[in-house]
């Protein structure tokens, strides 16, 4: 594999497989794919060392379109597949591509456990708040009252908040971006790749066939400056077309305030993605458009913790150091044996 040591300069196009992309024209998945291909060459990882694992769903077709190693596994199980893969081959860069149904409905438990184990993998959840591939049933992120094929009278399950869950199960890197915000999306993918440990990124993605416009408020030219807020480490939470609004803490409750009129930047909540305790990240994950808050995008939390894949291999190394490389004869000799003479 010496070839993998020399790093030829690759272009985004080098990461395109020979398969035609089969998403609906206009699908948000296209721009995520484009950004991924853009980011790839900047990571300095040889193509053959990259693996994309997905479950089932429109989003999960992603690996077919990347000219890397990949597996389009079964519904909801990608994080588990990635866990085995990364454990035996920590040298590989492993990406998990999932959807709001694949990752939060059938696959919720695997997602939760992958995150808490903090394997060094990157999980990108395409959240279109609908089941696309199966043609339009509601998903765990569909809002209450949402009318879909399976909920003609409206959905009655409180939606899950992907980031709240990720933070609730010990996430070490938690971020959010938007399919159409390509520059920001690219940065988030890069940050995720660079993080040591499980990086979880929620991407607002538009399904223009079955849930068109679900994220309009966050993508619309005229409104997005007021409906989203970009988190920057160490910076105050400021937003608004003319950056004249901010988020202030009132006890444990965030509130929207106008800058000026006696309120200065210093009064605002300052973002700290490295806070050892996840309380801030959690609080930010609760800021919702429907409650009159701008929705944060960017890195909510990024802390270093031991990684499962490293530790499981450390134990192998340690055991080998202490007992020497496995030797069956030695093993047999540890038992009570007896000889039968011929």
């Amino acid at each position: 594999m010496s070839a993998s040591l020399t790093l030829p300069v690759l272009k985004p196009a080098d990461f395109a497989s020979d398969q035609d992309v089969r998403w609906c024209p206009g699908c948000g998945d296209y721009s995520i794919l484009a950004q991924m291909k853009k980011v790839m060459p900047t990571l300095g990882v040889p193509r053959e060392k990259i693996v994309f694992i997905s479950g089932i769903g429109c989003s999960s077709r992603f690996p077919y379109y990347m000219n890397t190693y990949g597996m389009h596994s079964i519904h909801g199980r990608a994080p588990a597949v990635a866990t085995g893969l990364k454990s035996v081959r920590p040298d590989l860069q492993v990406w998990v591509i999932t959807g709001d149904g694949d990752g939060l409905s059938i696959g919720g438990n695997h997602l939760m456990h992958a995150i808490r184990r903090n394997l060094d993998i990157n999980i990108i959840l395409f959240n279109n708040r609908i089941y696309g591939l199966t043609k339009g049933q509601y998903s765990p992120t569909s809002p209450l009252g949402k009318k879909t094929k399976s909920t003609p009278m409206g959905a009655i399950d409180n939606p899950l908040h992907p980031l709240s869950i990720a933070i609730g199960c010990e996430g070490t890197f938690v971020a959010r971006s938007i399919d159409t915000n390509i520059k920001h999306l690219g940065e988030m993918l890069k940050r995720a790749a660079e993080h040591k440990g499980t990086a979880f990124v929620e991407v607002y993605q538009n399904c223009n066939i079955f849930n068109d416009g679900a994220w309009d408020y966050a993508t619309d030219r005229d409104t997005k400056a007021d409906t989203t807020i970009e988190l920057e480490h160490g910076k105050p939470l400021i937003f608004g077309k003319n950056r004249d609004k901010g988020i202030r803490l009132h006890g444990l409750d965030p509130e929207v305030v106008e800058l000026g009129k006696g309120i200065t930047e210093d009064d605002l909540l300052f973002h700290d993605e490295k806070a050892p305790e996840p309380s801030l990240a959690y609080l930010l994950s609760r800021m919702r458009h429907e409650d009159g808050f701008p929705e944060p995008i960017g890195v909510f939390r990024a802390v270093e913790r031991p990684q499962y894949d490293a530790m499981i291999n450390d134990q192998v190394a340690q055991a080998t150091k202490e007992r020497g490389p496995g030797d069956l004869n030695k093993l047999f000799a540890t038992t009570e044996t007896w000889d039968v003479a011929s």
Binding site: M1, P8, D14, R47, I74, R77, V81, A82, I312, A319
Partner: protein, 628 residues
């Protein structure tokens, strides 16, 4: 620490030579019966007997003391001949309390030796066991059995008095007293157990001393008090020469997996979720990480198998192990392994079903599930171990098939095999068969820019196996998945003819394994009145039964299947050479249906689902009945 024992057993006046004997220790799960049984087994093996064991645990962790639900037993069959079963009936029964007595007495042959701890036969104990009157006194046991009422509790407390242990701990030594007594009875040396005690309790000398004292007390109790009665001697068995150890199925299987990994130069990744009786595989492998073993306790059985599939895609040895209900959860993922054609081992340590069923009891009722429990046309090889030590070899064979044919393999054992033990002739490691694994090298042009369409992940070899291209290899980047694939390229394909072709090809590949495995062997004449066809853990009982009727001159042969899918090439021929075929199974006739369907022969079933193995007698009886 091998030892050739000097036969330094004092031989008192009445010593009766026996060919074999079966002893069962039973008592409360807190009474240490499993330990007593294991020690007695090892000692018997060490003095050169062949041995076979049958531990029987209660389903509860610790049911309340003295209740029937809490009774734990361990049966040892030791012999001067080579044996395959733990014995149908018991020659000597040690019952530590009334509950143990009432739940085990029916297995003691009349005239058998019965040793009870009289101290436990008080009001409460008798009532918990449901005895209206005291069986020790109401004549229900004597003279039917050779009854020995021993005040074990009192005697043990006396014996350990010096050690300074509290009463609770002192009573923990009663199993040692009982062992000592049985050691004397069968003229077994105490040294191995004394060594064991020294090691186990090294750090707590007072406990070591107490156990030693109790053991010896029991032994001398035999010598002195019971001096009148007979002592029994079972000569050495004539086992093939070599070095032996006494091995449990779960251990043999785990070691076999480790050997397979080494022989194929792979890391061993076990993805498993605990479940009785399969957990011991996870626990055993976790102890041997220095064999480049990675054990992953997954969040559930689905994550267990899919993580193993991930390891397989990564190019290493992916294994998952579970039992019935857990295997049921793996069905969908097995389909993924079949269609992606990755090597994978799926181990099912069968237990009583359906559903949660009888978790601690043995059964063979998951054969259907192994063969057919998936959606779509989804064939995979199925092989089964026949005894504890056989697991070592079967594990390697399963991995050999998985890698040569790029397919998941289902390996079946059961609770009886996993927990049972038998002497095992230690193999010569240097002579173990290598498992050659080929991975395609980097694309010819060696560069990372090779157009991946030059690599064809579903281009097959002569065995119809596809190449196992490993991530990290430049130029072989490719994608696989659960959708039907186009022949050769492996791209997604909805083409009707291609689907038919791929279904046929996957089936032909698995069927072709028949050309790669040994022909089926037969124990007995090539033709005859009856063929006994068995698989898995019933081997011992079937072999013993067939030998017994053969000795009586019956034209009966025995055919034991290791390979259940595909069957050995010559199986049909063998079946047709017998007037009738009997298939004993610990299920209601699963292999039977498949054999009938495949070979159109009117095979007869002997079926039992009682959570325990066949007795030899049951099979002999059925054979004789069929020959009438």
């Amino acid at each position: 620490m091998s030892t050739t024992l000097a036969e330094k057993i004092e031989t008192p006046t009445h010593v009766q030579q026996l060919e074999d004997a079966t002893v069962r220790f039973c008592g409360d799960s807190g009474d240490g019966m499993q330990l007593a049984g294991t020690q007695f087994t090892n000692t018997s093996a060490l003095v050169g007997n062949d041995v076979a064991t049958f531990p029987d645990f209660p389903a509860e962790i610790r049911a309340p003391r003295g209740t029937k639900a809490g009774v734990s037993g361990f049966q040892v069959h030791f012999s001067s001949k080579d044996i395959h079963t733990p014995g149908d009936t018991v020659d000597a029964l040690v019952a530590m309390n009334p509950a143990a007595l009432v739940t085990n007495i029916e297995d003691l042959r009349s005239g058998g030796i019965l040793i009870v701890n009289r101290d436990e036969f008080d009001k409460k104990g008798l009532q918990q066991a449901g005895y209206a009157t005291d069986p020790l006194e109401d004549g229900s046991l004597e003279p039917k059995y050779k009854l020995h009422k021993v005040d074990m509790t009192k005697l043990t407390r006396l014996a350990v008095a010096g050690s300074g242990l509290g009463q609770k701990d002192a009573d923990r030594c009663r199993n040692m007293f009982a062992m000592g007594l049985v050691f004397w009875l069968y003229g077994r040396p105490m040294d191995p157990t004394l060594r064991f005690i020294a090691e186990k309790f090294g750090k707590r000398p007072e406990v070591a001393q107490a156990n030693t004292a109790a053991l010896k007390a029991g032994y001398h109790y035999g010598e002195t008090v019971e001096a009148a009665s007979t002592q029994y001697h079972i000569p050495k068995a004539k086992l093939p020469p070599g070095r032996y150890t006494n091995i449990e199925g779960a251990t043999a299987l785990s070691w076999g997996l480790m050997a397979a990994a080494q022989l194929s130069g792979k890391r061993l990744f076990l993805g498993a979720y605990p479940i009785t009786p399969a957990s011991t595989i996870l626990e055993t492998l976790a102890k041997h990480k220095n064999f480049d073993v990675l054990t992953f306790q997954a969040e559930d059985e689905i994550a267990a198998i899919t993580s193993a599939i991930g390891a397989a895609f990564a190019g290493e040895m992916g294994v998952t192990a579970s039992s019935g209900p857990g295997i049921a959860l793996k069905g969908e993922a097995l389909g993924l392994a079949v269609i992606t054609e990755l090597p994978l081992l799926v181990i099912n340590v069968q237990r009583g079903g359906p559903s949660t069923g009888l978790p601690t009891k043995t059964e063979q009722a998951d054969l259907f599930q192994a063969m057919m429990g998936r959606n779509g046309e989804c064939p995979l090889p199925v092989i089964a171990a026949r005894s504890p030590s056989d697991c070592f070899e079967v594990a390697q064979e399963a991995w050999r098939i998985a890698t040569r044919f790029m397919t998941p393999v289902m390996l079946l054992t059961d609770g009886y095999i996993a927990n049972g033990a038998e002497p095992w002739l230690l193999p010569d490691v240097s002579k173990l068969r290598k498992i050659e694994v080929k991975h395609p090298g980097p694309a010819l042009d060696g560069t990372d820019n090779a157009d991946e369409s030059t690599f064809l992940p579903y281009q097959r070899d002569e065995r119809l196996a596809r190449p196992w291209a490993v991530p990290g290899t430049p130029g072989l980047e490719h994608r696989i998945g659960g959708l039907e694939k186009q022949d050769i390229t492996g791209n997604v394909s909805y083409d009707p003819e291609n689907h038919q072709h791929m279904v046929n090809t996957r089936a032909r590949k698995v069927a072709g394994i028949a050309n790669d495995i040994p022909l089926q062997e037969l124990d007995g004449e090539e033709t005859g009145d009856l063929l006994v066809l068995s698989w898995g853990g019933t081997y011992g009982a079937c072999a013993t039964a067939v030998h017994a009727v053969q000795a009586r001159g019956r034209k009966v042969s025995h055919c034991h299947l290791r390979y259940l899918n595909p069957f050995p090439r010559n199986l049909g021929e063998i079946l047709n050479n017998f007037k009738s075929v009997l298939i004993p199974e610990l299920n209601m006739g699963q292999l039977r249906l498949i054999i009938r369907g495949e070979f159109l022969i009117d095979a007869i079933g002997l079926n039992k689902v009682q959570g325990k193995p066949f007795s030899v007698a049951e099979i002999v009886e059925k054979i004789e009945q069929l020959l009438k």
